[in-house]
């Protein structure tokens, strides 16, 4: 429930946005003096889709995120969008595959990317898990990613148990391997070494943010917004440059030379 806690803390006093699935929390609030839209995906025990009741990003969540972001774009004011990320996974289920969950998640990624291109600073605040397709739909299109430094904050393509099965390794073998291969690791500092984060922050109580925690995160979000606004850059090039992601830059250089 970290996502909900941080959403409630950051958006205290803000106007909730109605007309969206119950698994989405959306509010128009302020950070400092800046009007922003906060968006979080939260568990909804009564979700009509049973495989999406624990905070997973499923059909309603994907299309709903798209709608919430599209409304912000339609406002025309380039208001910053803060995606509060605590998503354990995409929804795994028969209904989901049959009804095209890939298309629902594409809609969410589409809207976030268009918001960014339209000049909205989009900031992803990672307070819990940011897993695979769920993160691609909710957060990964952000101009800036900020992660709280905590063992429960984790970015990955697949959970440990599943990854072990798929790669025919034991969980222990996978962990040993992950420790020596930064992109496979599950801890946030290894992830930070890939250059994908703009900032990592330490807080006192990640589950129940204190006033001090809230002030620190709020301040960091404002700095990130200003950084985007001052840079004028609307693409994701700011994520390139880390030693552990050198090949991504090298490939782009070569493509440009040979284009």
């Amino acid at each position: 429930m970290r996502g909900l806690q941080w959403f409630n803390a950051l958006s205290a006093g803000a106007a909730p946005v109605a007309g969206l699935p119950a698994s989405l929390k959306v509010a128009d609030g302020v950070l400092g003096e800046q009007a922003v839209r906060f968006i979080a995906v939260v568990p909804d025990a009564a979700n009509r889709f049973p495989r999406a009741r624990q905070g997973e990003v499923g059909l309603l969540e994907g299309w709903g995120l798209a709608k919430a972001v599209d409304e912000a774009i339609a406002s025309g004011d380039q208001r910053p969008i803060i995606a509060i990320v605590d998503v354990p996974s995409q929804a795994y289920g028969r209904r989901e595959e049959a009804l095209g969950i890939h298309q629902a998640l594409a809609a969410a990624a589409d809207s976030y990317a268009r918001a960014r291109l339209a000049g909205h600073p989009v900031i992803g605040l990672l307070v819990g898990k940011a897993m695979s397709g769920a993160f691609l739909a909710h957060g990964y299109q952000a101009n800036r990613l900020i992660a709280l430094r905590d063992p429960g904050v984790m970015v990955h393509a697949m959970g440990k148990a599943s990854a072990a099965r798929v790669t025919l390794r034991s969980v222990e073998e996978l962990e040993a391997l992950a420790a020596s291969v930064p992109p496979m690791a599950y801890d946030i500092d290894s992830y930070a070494s890939l250059g994908l984060l703009w900032e990592t922050l330490t807080v006192n109580q990640i589950e129940h943010p204190t006033a001090d925690d809230l002030a620190r995160v709020s301040d960091c979000l404002q700095q990130a917004i200003k950084d985007v606004q001052n840079s004028g850059v609307r693409d994701l090039r700011g994520r390139l440059g880390a030693v552990n992601r050198a090949a991504s830059s090298r490939v782009r250089e070569l493509l440009r030379e040979q284009w």
């Binding site: 798209a66 393509a157 599943s162 493509l255």
Partner: protein, 280 residues
Amino acid sequence: MTDLLNRHSFVELGARQRAKALLDTGSYRELIDPFQRVMSPWLSRQGVVPQADDGVVIAKGTLDGLPLVIAAIEGNFQGGSLGEVGGAKIAGALELAAEDNRNGVPTRAVLLLETGGVRLQEANLGLAAIADIHAAIVDLRQYQPVIGVVAGSVGCFGGMSIAAGLCSYLLVTREARLGLNGPQVIEQEAGLEEYDSRDRPFIWSLTGGEQRFNSGLADRYVADDVAQIRQQISQLLQQGLPAAQRSRQADYYLARLAALDAAPQIEPATVRDLYQGERP
């Protein structure tokens, strides 16, 4: 029967041959070709044999005389999974195509998608590259159509199924499968009753190319034939940008999902009816 004999299978071609078959004769030029040995920096150190092009072919050329860049994924190498290098090749090519358009050069893009998604040996770098690919499709799509082709036999899964959903147009064959999650992963996560990964007819009935087309989740359903696929791509490119981008139809799909009785387990026909209505 003559029709069948005159066909040249597209599915049986490798990534490089596919790209060559789609471009105007003599216009094919590969970027970062395999002899440049830009390989995965992560596979060898994990004891996995790399491939010289990291499983992705980037080819520039023309189709009907107009500039086109093709990104073709080789499904036979590591299940078409995307790692850092292959992912960056696709993202970087799309980024340069968008830049071309900003400079007045009308470069279009075709993505040949045979992929299980993120390559787990490069996990977070594959995921990051796929986010870059999503960003680049949305950017390029402002100027020119981006066409996704899922021909088979690997199909298109994981984060790249989201990329397929972002394309201006999506072309599938009967050999195609398209879905976010692979059948085995769903079975692992949700149980056999929810999703039996060994029941092939069941899986094809839900995620196969024909069903996706009949549900309005793909734009063209084409036979596995080089000439027909090329012709359909050419037509779609000539159409220009679609009137309505599928991934921008949130109100429509939310309304359709609201009309669904989600309690019973779902059947393929329910999806077709829900998304397309009864069709003659």
